[in-house]
Chain length 140, copies 2
Amino acid sequence: MRFENLEKELKNRNINLSYQRLKILEYLAHNQCHPTVDQIFINIQKSITTLSKTTVYNTLKKLVEEGLVRVINIEDNETRYDIVTEDHGHFKCENCKTIFDFNVNLDSFSINGLDNFRILDKNIYFKGICPECAQVNEKN
Amino acid sequence: MRFENLEKELKNRNINLSYQRLKILEYLAHNQCHPTVDQIFINIQKSITTLSKTTVYNTLKKLVEEGLVRVINIEDNETRYDIVTEDHGHFKCENCKTIFDFNVNLDSFSINGLDNFRILDKNIYFKGICPECAQVNEKN
DNA sequence: ATACAAACTTGTAATGATTACAAATTAGGT
DNA sequence: ACCTAATTTGTAATCATTACAAGTTTGTAT
């Protein structure tokens, strides 16, 4: 994902330009913290006071369809969104709930039982305790 | 997961025995198709006509807490449940929606960027088209 | 610049899965 | 057989997401 020209990026993907769409994409590019719909909505509402949550949902749906954004489903009650960069895994700390990225070559491991399957999308995520939370726990 | 004695399996995990719990666990053991709450509910209701969906939710929550059952979150609008056997990956066909298991050694790939993270749970899933659906498409 | 059709945004209402809660029932130990 | 604690049940509440229709904006052709 190149950030220099998000407008062009949208046009390339047949997504018409609108102020809201650009701001949402900008937010995702500048805040790569895997935000929820609410986080996106609340933050952009500060600059676009008339923003509707429906617009956030609609735009995210479009961005996902066009491959600019990726959905992260780790917990069943919260959907998060990630601007697509390259293949990477996600680690969610069960204590502070932060989601960290990690590098992984998704083609490196040998799998067994998927002959003749057409694989279009690979996802990997871990759960556990992040270093900071682990350190705090030790002190207790 | 040994299926010979599900009652004992429950007792070992400090889960009190109840008819409903046993039937739900039995269902998961005999139908390893990654069912949704609704599928579980509708099927067991046939034999326990007074069954409440709340019981299904409560029981699944308990079974997950005690590590007998695993949650599968692939799509954000459907939670599925899987009786824990060994580490394995899931493949979801985007056409027929079936979820297939595949073997993968979750310790085999090299990851980068998780030093000092305590990893408690590893998940991997792919999406794409299964062989059957791929074949049907070719004919069109 | 202007006009028009198509696309986008907005707000409200509807949907659907999950959880909260309190009363009734059941299980396990004495 | 009794008693307490745990479980089940049904209804109501909650929360995220989607549907929909009206109003607004955008892109294009003139």
